[in-house]
């Protein structure tokens, strides 16, 4: 079994101790590497196991909860930088796939940002309310289920039109699979994965290009609303 499959099996067992040992024995130690090359592929593998009828959604829930714990443990100890740029992160209403968002949140904190992480399923009204008061520089949205895509446009527009015009970042499983640009508005940036997000972060510091994803994959399937 590869490292990735081993981690996936521990996550499915719901054994955070074994999963943690697996992360510790991974040759790369930098958080972004562990996120992108180990944890994300392990969770994708779990998705694949569902698609091939090997596991159920309940198993996936257990793996998600275990992975969530591992992510919290991994990002524990990143110090808050009080005067830094601010970013808030949320999943669209109904969207339960939040692990990627959580990794992005930790990536931002590691880069010295002050963040607020709202996790899965945040209604737009609440996001708007918070953003209006807290005035983040960046709002990160995550979407993983095609069915939730129509809501993305609504979120991107409403949040992007706030008085302080925050940058809207869009990520999640679909960002790597489809061209989501038509669901965004003027200040929406699509980031297809963690390395691209990290690049964006570095560019933000240096004032470099902030275009987000350049490759344009296919359009997502349409949903009757």
């Amino acid at each position: 079994m590869t490292h990735i499959e081993t981690l996936a099996s521990f996550l499915l067992e719901g054994d955070p101790d074994k999963a943690w040992t697996c992360i510790e024995s991974y040759p790369k130690t930098a958080r972004p590497d562990v996120y992108h090359h180990l944890i994300t592929p392990a969770m994708r593998h779990i998705g694949h196991l569902w698609e091939t009828n090997k596991i159920t959604v309940a198993d996936e829930h257990l793996a998600t909860a275990t992975c969530d714990f591992i992510l919290s443990k991994l990002s524990f100890g990143i110090r808050k930088a009080p005067s830094a740029d601010k970013a808030m992160f949320l999943c669209l209403d109904g969207e339960q796939h939040y692990l990627g968002l959580k990794m992005v949140d930790s990536l931002f904190r590691e880069h010295g940002w002050e963040t607020r992480y709202f996790g899965p399923d945040l209604p737009l009204e609440y996001a708007l309310q918070t953003a209006e008061i807290w005035k983040p520089d960046v709002i990160g949205l995550s979407v993983s289920i095609v069915y939730h895509l129509p809501k993305l446009q609504q979120y991107a527009e409403a949040l992007g039109n706030l008085p302080d015009k925050p940058n809207i970042l869009v990520g999640g499983r679909l960002a790597g699979m489809y061209d989501l640009s038509r669901y965004g508005s003027g200040n929406t940036i699509i980031l297809k994965d963690l390395p691209e997000t990290e690049e964006w972060l570095l560019d933000y510091r240096t004032g470099g290009p902030q275009s987000g994803t350049i490759t344009t994959p296919t359009s997502p399937p349409l949903y009757k609303s």
Partner: protein, 258 residues
């Protein structure tokens, strides 16, 4: 497409190899929009591949799989789908909505787990805070006091632990090296308990000071319990023992008046 007269207690749909619906039960019609006549239109885009793959791999044995489906009520709902092919190349499918009370339970479980995780991290955070407070306390437990150009004093407070002596050693050595002292007093009046590893570290510190500076090191304010402990370590060659700060200071002032 034929509607079955049989009153089945679960939604039932029969499809051909292409996925065209050939017959369905009353409950299937009630729950799903069958107007398209194709099984595809009932299944979430991303579950279709799963259905196609799993159903094509199975022989005549019944199989069960989870699929996300589009119902009249919900655009995205998880179902257990039981499927079996017959010899005429038709698949019978029965649809069983995943019990939503399960979902509630899962959600509650997740909330509890979330709370546990956050209290776990709060505890860790408190532990770190406590550790840094203890370290700070250690740092403040051995202040350096220059009494004159040639005499300095380091009173030790609290229990003598290895951690504490390690913490104060560096600043203590630096302060002593910086001056030109002849005598270094360690005042042990305010010492509580003595740990064996603490006393070892303390003796190391005293030896280092003695080697590096050649200063006379004196221990004052030694209580009986400490005296017993120190006795094991044959310190006489490194330090002098005197009784109290008072005696030491009076000796020092006599010397100055001479």
């Amino acid at each position: 497409m034929e509607r079955l007269r049989l009153p089945l207690p679960l939604p039932y749909i029969r499809v051909n190899r292409d996925g065209r619906i050939v017959s369905y039960s009353a409950l299937a019609e009630e729950q799903f929009d069958l107007s398209n006549g194709h099984i595809r239109s009932l299944i979430d885009e991303e579950s279709i591949n799963k259905l196609v793959r799993i159903s094509s791999e199975t022989g005549l044995a019944p199989i069960k799989m989870e699929l996300n489906m589009i119902t009249k009520e919900e655009p995205f709902a998880l179902f257990d789908v039981h499927l079996q092919w017959d010899t005429e190349n038709y698949a019978s499918m029965i649809f069983l909505r995943k019990d939503s009370s399960n979902e509630e339970l899962i959600e509650k479980l997740m909330n509890i787990q979330h709370r546990l995780a956050s209290s776990d991290f709060e505890l860790l955070e408190k532990k770190e805070e406590l550790e840094s407070a203890l370290k700070r306390l250690d740092e403040l437990s051995g202040p350096f006091i220059p009494l004159s150009d040639s005499l300095c004093m380091i009173p030790l407070f609290g229990d003598i632990t290895a951690d504490k002596i390690n913490t104060i050693s560096e600043s203590c050595l630096q302060s002593v090296f910086r001056g030109n002292y002849e005598v270094v007093l360690f005042d042990l009046t305010a010492v509580g308990e003595v740990h064996a590893d603490g006393i070892e570290k303390f003796i190391q510190l005293v030896k280092t000071l003695n080697f590096m500076t050649g200063d006379i090191i004196k221990l004052i304010g030694i209580k009986p319990n400490l005296a017993k402990e120190l006795n094991h370590h044959k310190l006489d060659q490194w330090v002098q023992f005197n009784h109290s700060l008072k005696e030491e200071l009076s000796m020092y002032s006599h010397k100055r008046h001479d």
